[in-house]
């Protein structure tokens, strides 16, 4: 087991290097630092000195990957690639445009992000599985049919509508919870209710339908027929046999997103004014803070890869047929 995990982690390294190369190409080769400086300082009437100053402040005034002017190892270390891209492996993300340390910001903002994303994830899983089981239990009846119709309708509504509509209905019309904001400690609770509810509802259509398909596929298998033939009541068949076997595909989809919960949700956080990583990213995109976007891309891929490893491990835990060799 340990052997396997170590090997999986070693596999992750080339992928992270690949991600790093992609972001390096995107941010420094497609557009040179000069282009970026000109864009940020305004295209017209920008002096070469201003560009040089902008680049120097951010450390973009070095050669891209190879420095002729330096000696020895410094030929490679005093470059943009080494200082900006390779340094990310040591979680050194540098500074944002407002002068703050990105790594520090990320640490501080992870918790608020998690405070919405985790309840949405857990509550969602329970709610979706429950509804999918109900639909599977009443399969081929009106309950099932209208359930699927409802799912398709829910899927077809933009997530922005859920947020704007929910804010309007619950906060503005009924004054139940504050429209947006965030507090520390237990105080945060009243701010989190609305985003969590909306998060669960906006994912309901697609997930419930997907779980229903999984349950029905499982129910068509031979062991279910055997269980029914033994005379087991439908509820036992459903909970003890179908649900347990259906957990394998459901887990695959669920475990992989767990690490990504740290990243939060881009739009929900910015609509509800929650100081998490999602709103951090949006602010960076809007103010064209390239360093922050680069750091978030790297962090996102890292978390995704961790999710993949966790998925593989969780397989062995729920499905004893799978051996990690």
């Amino acid at each position: 087991m340990l052997n396997y995990i170590i090997r999986r982690m070693l596999y992750a390294i080339p992928i992270l290097i690949g991600v790093n190369l992609i972001t390096f190409t995107l941010f420094f080769v497609v557009n040179t630092p000069d282009d970026m400086a000109r864009m940020q300082l305004g295209i017209k009437r920008v002096t070469p000195e201003a560009i040089e100053k902008w680049k120097h402040e951010r450390g973009y005034d070095k050669p891209l990957i190879f420095s002729e002017a330096e000696q020895g190892a410094a030929k490679f270390t005093h470059t943009i690639f080494f200082e900006k891209s390779a340094a990310m492996f040591a979680f050194d993300f540098g500074q944002a445009d407002d002068g703050r340390d990105i790594a520090y910001e990320i640490k501080a903002r992870m918790l608020p992000s998690l405070a919405i994303a985790l309840p949405v994830f857990l509550l969602g899983l329970v709610v979706y599985i429950t509804f999918a089981l109900v639909m599977a239990f009443f399969r081929a009846t009106y309950v099932d049919f209208w359930g699927v119709v409802l799912c398709v309708a829910l899927m077809s509504i933009s997530s922005l509508f859920y947020i704007i509509g929910g804010q309007f209905l619950i906060s503005k019309l009924w004054h139940l919870v504050p429209i947006s904001g965030y507090g520390s400690g237990l105080d945060a609770g009243k701010f989190l209710v609305l985003p969590v509810i909306i998060g669960v509802i906006s994912g309901a259509g697609a997930s419930t339908r997907w779980y229903r398909t999984i349950f029905l596929e499982e129910m068509g298998k031979d062991y279910v027929r055997t269980a029914r033939a033994k005379g087991l009541p439908e509820s036992i068949v459903l909970f003890r046999h179908v649900l347990r076997n259906a957990m394998i595909p459901i887990l695959t989809g669920a475990v992989v997103v767990i690490p990504l919960l740290f990243l939060g949700s881009l739009i929900a956080e910015s609509f509800f004014g929650i100081p998490g990583l999602g709103s951090y990213t949006i602010d960076a995109i809007n103010s064209q803070d390239f360093a922050v976007v680069r750091a978030m891309v790297f962090l996102g891929s890292l978390l995704y890869i961790i999710g993949l490893i966790l998925t593989d491990i969780s397989y062995t835990l729920v499905d004893p047929r799978i051996r990690l060799e």
Binding site: G18, R38, A140, I157, F161, L216, L266, V293, S301
Partner: protein, 505 residues
């Protein structure tokens, strides 16, 4: 020679034309091959799928009208010669048809069917005094003498007249359809009509016609009213929201279809190559798509769009008009979305090819010395096309929804492009106004919902027809499937009764 207009073919236009040609060629090809036609017949049997297709056809028609671009000629009276000068403004056929909507711009917000502005203004009276009141609109309801008394009656009358015209057109269509069906089957027209009503026709024409009468009466009423009113109100700068909603359709369709067109070459080529050649080719391709797909989609798109913005700022020579600039940005967005989303399909294609290459007929082709290229193009490609098709229709609605989110994040289409995303983005702050401005948001969401819902329903029909193993819709669920049940009578399917309890997976 002078022309009234100068045709303009923007980048996305040419790709849409290409797509139309490809679709037409595909239809022609399918019609000639019975084995390819069979699954499409199953799509045709789905009532919800055909009703959705009817709605989609209308959206596509609006989108295509909005794709034919040109620059109208403007009179040049400065130096007296008859040389035509073309306007810098790029218009489309839709702009010409909807000219009353496009040109009649009010001062600022006005509610749907309003005859007055939404905000009070101070008006100077002739005697020097001032009053604060809601001024009349320049165009909306301008033909009414006394809006307070006449508005409701006028709107009702015009809506009824428009809807009546729509229903009349529908009746003509019904008669034409049943006449042609009756002619084909060599039966009476009345018999065909009753067959359609009962839903006994091969294609569920009753579902199509019910959808059609809804669309036509709504369309008729909307057209009749929009000449005299802003039926969905106006936005902050007084532009008609109905016109903006119509213009958004093309943007949504372009994103939903061209993105797939962009990603198909990658996914097909790499996916089939990885599955067919295996070995190091497989390793390299797997590495590429694992790396790409490990970057969270929104972040990769955001990074790429940011860089595209910088590139377009520093290369203004790529475009000559504002429309060309916006169009280029739309194209880049499609390319970026395509590059970030091909990995899923690629993985599916690789898996399917791995399975196919072990089949006997491909082994036989190897034994006969058929070249790799020929095996791939003649034996593998046709057998993975159903996966491509399903993925294409399934992705469409997701991409339309994604556009709105991306535009909100600030990495979507150009702000000058009218799209659902830019409409929502512009309107969301208006929710905080007192009194609230709700119509722009609701129109954008409503149109988007109609487009996405019909795309989803059609995609489900395609999925069920091409991949019967995965059932997205309940099969024997009451009314909508009555027709199907009649077909599967116990006499034709003796096992149907015994298999009653076991749902088909």
């Amino acid at each position: 020679m002078t022309m009234l207009f100068k045709p303009v073919i923007l980048w996305t236009d040419s790709l849409i034309y290409l797509l139309v040609i490809v679709v037409l060629a595909f239809v022609w090809h399918v019609r000639r091959n019975e084995h390819m036609l069979a699954p499409w017949r199953r799509v045709g049997h789905s009532a919800s799928g055909m009703a959705a297709l009817t709605v989609l056809v209308f959206f596509i028609a609006v989108g295509l009208l909005d794709t034919v671009h040109f620059r109208p000629a403007v009179e040049n009276n400065d130096n007296g010669n008859s040389e035509k000068v073309y306007s810098v403004e790029v218009l489309s056929l839709l702009d010409i048809i909807a000219a009353p909507l496009r040109t009649r711009v009010e001062k600022t917000y006005s509610a749907p069917f309003a005859a007055h502005l939404y905000a009070r203004e101070t008006i100077e009276l002739p005697d020097g005094g001032q009053i604060r009141e809601f001024p009349r609109l320049q165009f909306g309801g301008a033909h009414l003498q006394n809006p307070e008394a006449q508005l409701t009656a006028d709107v009702t009358w015009r809506a009824a007249a428009g809807a009546g015209l729509g229903v009349f057109v529908w009746c003509v269509l019904v008669i034409l359809l049943s006449a042609s069906l009756a002619h084909r089957d060599n039966v009476g027209v009345l018999y065909t009509l009753s067959a359609i009503r009962r839903g006994a026709t091969e294609i569920p024409w009753n579902a199509v016609l019910v959808t059609l009468v809804l669309i036509l009466s709504l369309l008729g009423a909307a057209l009749a009213l929009s000449v005299h009113y802003h039926i969905l109100g106006t936005d902050k700068v007084g532009q008609d929201v109905f016109y903006q909603s119509l213009k958004s359709i093309r943007t949504g369709l372009v994103i939903g279809t061209l993105t797939t067109l962009m990603m198909l070459p990658f996914a097909l080529l790499l996916g089939i190559m990885a599955g067919y050649f295996r070995g190091w080719v497989d390793d390299v391709i797997q590495y590429i798509y694992t790396t790409l797909s490990s970057i969270p989609g929104v972040l990769l798109i955001a990074a790429a769009v940011l860089m595209m913005q910088v590139y377009m700022e520093t290369h203004p020579e790529l475009f000559d008009t504002i429309a060309a600039r916006a169009d280029l940005r739309l194209l880049f967005l499609c390319i970026i979305l395509g590059v970030t989303s091909w990995t899923g399909l690629c993985r599916l294609l690789r898996g399917e090819t791995l399975k196919l290459r072990e089949m006997e007929y491909i082994q036989a082709a190897h034994a006969f010395g058929v070249s790799h290229w020929r095996i791939i193009s003649r034996h593998i490609l046709p057998n993975v096309m159903h996966i491509v098709l399903i993925a294409t229709v399934m992705d469409f609605s997701g991409l339309v929804l994604a556009e709105a989110v991306l535009s909100y994040v600030g990495v979507g289409v150009d702000p000058s492009t009218i799209s659902f995303g830019t409409m929502i983005n512009a309107a969301r702050l208006e929710m905080a106004r007192e009194p609230m401005v709700w119509w722009a948001l609701l129109s954008a969401f409503g149109f988007m919902f109609a487009l996405v819902l019909s795309a989803n329903l059609f995609a489900d029909a395609v999925q069920d027809a091409f991949n019967p193993r995965v059932r997205t819709w309940p099969v024997k669920a009451g009314k909508p499937y009555r027709r199907k049940r009649q077909e599967e009578d116990p006499e034709t399917k003796p096992n149907a009764a015994t298999a009653k309890d076991v749902i088909s997976p």
